[in-house]
Symmetry: C3
Subunit: 321 residues, 3 copies
């Protein structure tokens, strides 16, 4: 919704593609000039001609990428904000890991097979399913036990569980001025992970409670200021590295999802090469964007500003990909 709101704030007209029966929020918040209802996002390609006739620019977000799949993203003919080629690199955990390692980031260890588990691991399933079904295991035995209970049949990854606080860092990189901006930080609000701690340890054990990681929302945070230089460096490395991976490289909004341990080491476990829900607390600007801009600058609006400036400079090709 901040994509739509931001576009309107920058003077664009907005079209929202939305599943049938789910239009209410867009109507109530008055952010869409036009709403197109679909049964399924796979209908996108039927709509594309209409979008192209209206000179629409597609702004991809997580659900859009997840529903369409990265292969179909490559077939988009309408104007598309951001580099399509980079989406494959964020969609596949092995490629993503290669990218982040190449950028010099610190990553949690990955175990090839369950038998190798020698510390606490988190078992994550492929695809942007909002963390649903993830679980912890301390040993091969515990892994197999919990897998039996699991309903997911997707590919999984066994990732070292870093004990530390989750921090999601939101960036924006423009190819118009080649500048990297820090847009803000958040932590996810996960069910039940962010509530099991509210139950006394004894009661947890009595009730046999285990942690799950379904994303339900986001909580705004600010980062310890002395860590900011490092955050800028991490963001820049990821951009530099991306330019070797896909023509055009990464630009626009992106997010590094990580853990900060008690020794202030940043472990990155994921990158999202697009706008993420963690910027939603900042519809009216974040503590960081208020430093740089004397107007409310959400990540959604920053995208629209990038496009607007590209049009003004006659460099629209620099924001499409």
């Amino acid at each position: 919704m901040q994509i739509l709101k931001g576009a309107k704030d920058e003077g664009f007209e907005t079209i929202c593609i939305c599943k049938k029966g789910r239009t209410k929020p867009y109507e109530s918040f008055k952010v869409a000039d036009k709403i197109i209802e679909v049964d399924d996002f796979s209908e996108y390609f039927k709509l594309e001609k209409e979008l192209m006739d209206q000179k629409a620019i597609v702004i991809p977000h997580g659900s859009f990428v997840s529903y369409l799949g990265f292969e179909n993203i490559q077939n988009i003919q309408a104007m598309h904000y951001g580099t399509k080629g980079i989406i494959e690199w964020e969609s596949d955990r092995d490629m993503e890991r290669k990218w982040l390692l190449d950028a010099g980031l610190k990553l949690p260890k990955i175990f090839d097979k369950p038998e190798d588990i020698d510390r606490t691991v988190i078992v994550k399933f492929h695809g942007a399913d909002g963390g649903q079904g993830y679980f912890l295991a301390n040993s091969p035995e515990e892994f197999y036990e919990r897998m039996k209970e699991s309903t997911s049949d997707k590919k999984y990854v066994l990732q070292e569980y870093i004990v530390g606080v989750p921090i999601y860092s939101h960036f924006f990189y423009s190819r118009l001025n080649n500048e990297l901006e820090v847009m803000g930080f958040d932590k996810r609000y996960e069910s039940n992970a962010d509530s099991v701690g509210r139950i006394a340890a004894k009661d947890q054990v009595d009730a046999g409670i285990r942690t799950t990681y379904t994303v339900t929302g986001n909580i705004p945070i600010v980062l310890r200021e002395s860590l900011l230089p490092q955050v800028f460096e991490m963001g820049q490395s990821v951009i530099d590295s991306s330019q070797k991976l896909a023509d055009g490289g990464l630009f626009g909004p992106f997010c590094l999802e990580g853990i900060l341990d008690p020794n202030l080491n940043f472990y990155t476990f994921e990158i999202s090469a697009r706008i993420v829900a963690g910027t939603n607390p900042y519809v009216n600007g974040s503590p960081y964007t208020w430093l740089r801009y004397n107007e409310p600058m959400s990540t959604g609006r920053r995208i629209a500003r990038d496009i607007k400036e590209a049009i003004e400079k006659d460099e629209l090709e620099k924001v499409l990909g």
Copy 2:
């Protein structure tokens, strides 16, 4: 305080009724044009003539309702924002439950007697006492043990304890345009529930720590966007249902207090049919009100706007009750 600030922003003069010796915040934040100090809110009826002479409109909040009692609310002669008849429905747990069930919401199971406890339950005492004294029990034995330690002699309810994250959804419904708005979300900040998790499990057990639920404040959150259509539906059902319960039905600000479990089921355990403290993070607007309004719109200001528009349209009776 946002009620007073919001009223001033909409051009009203404000009167604050406040306990003796507690005026400092209202003075410092410059939100009250006039402060009336009372020894006890029961003095309200002595002041009523003065309020009526000044054409004051009473805006009820939680403490006001709690101190006065819903029976006395019915006797208010001054202009009163909101439907008085609905307050009884939120003040009595049995009536409240009937209302929410009628609205089709999912509710935690209620156990009639301690002997029926067959899972983790939370024991809640009647009245808006900010969660003080609530406790968990896993069995009839544990219930009786903790009741011996309890100092409360109020009626209690045995509610299934849903493991999931607490989310408080804030709404506003106006009878002028019959529109429902989502104003934002928060989670309560409870002592010690929101800090026991900061103690390692082993230390908790060593120190014999148990969870308590005293409300100390509120933390802003945003909700996973794909859940918004459901939230609008829940809010609308509650309004529709209320119209059968009390003449005029529910309007103005209200709050659904619930738990979102890992399968994204919303369990509602309470409704507040008035402005609540969970809207306080949003004195300058929430990420949601900034979508709809191009000005800072707190829930307090939204009330004042509703009254102002009613006066302008000569429909003041639509916001009084």
Copy 3:
């Protein structure tokens, strides 16, 4: 950074003294008119002549005080915002405790020696090191065991661990109008303290996890409104008491760092007599400053406003010390 941003908003030019290679955030957020890079903050005194030539006013923050040491602060010749004499009182835990007790605040019990530990204590090391290395102990034995693992050789204090939620209260006191303002509240985001609760109790015990308290950021909160009168009183007592301790007393921004227990008792464990990072969520104003000011008022900007008003009234000496 909000100090620099706030100064610019009030029409001042800004100079930022910064360690070499760490200038990126100040450049990106465009808050510094001039950046002076140093190898170490001890070089401050070499720069002082230049600062004095430019009529700069030094605004001390936590890292500045920590790097320079309170003894060197006394030797600052340039104009310095705030009372230098009070910094010694916050820098030494024993003097700080004397101050807070004199102000009538409730403090956690202090144990003189490890053998006296008869409840859960938190072991804190002197100096503003962001909570790194703090640990819990339930007994003398546990204390000695964990001390063996500790890498810190600093003086420590054995403080009763109060079970309750951490709340940091931010104040501003101006000597121009002798008014105390509440600027907002936050909770720290600590690694791993704020994430161990995300791990189910059984898994914590299996993995042998212990709590650590490294500050990584801050989360905005609002306080239960009925507690505000008490918060104003606590702030005022601390100011009144400070006037006996150091000529000029405490003024400008300060922070009371405490725990609110389930019976709503405030335990204060520390005071910071300067701007702290906990005000960073409020670069664009807090829910409290938006009540009083009809413009975005961060704590950084409030400092600049104080200086500006002092200059206008020709009372600059009232904000220097």
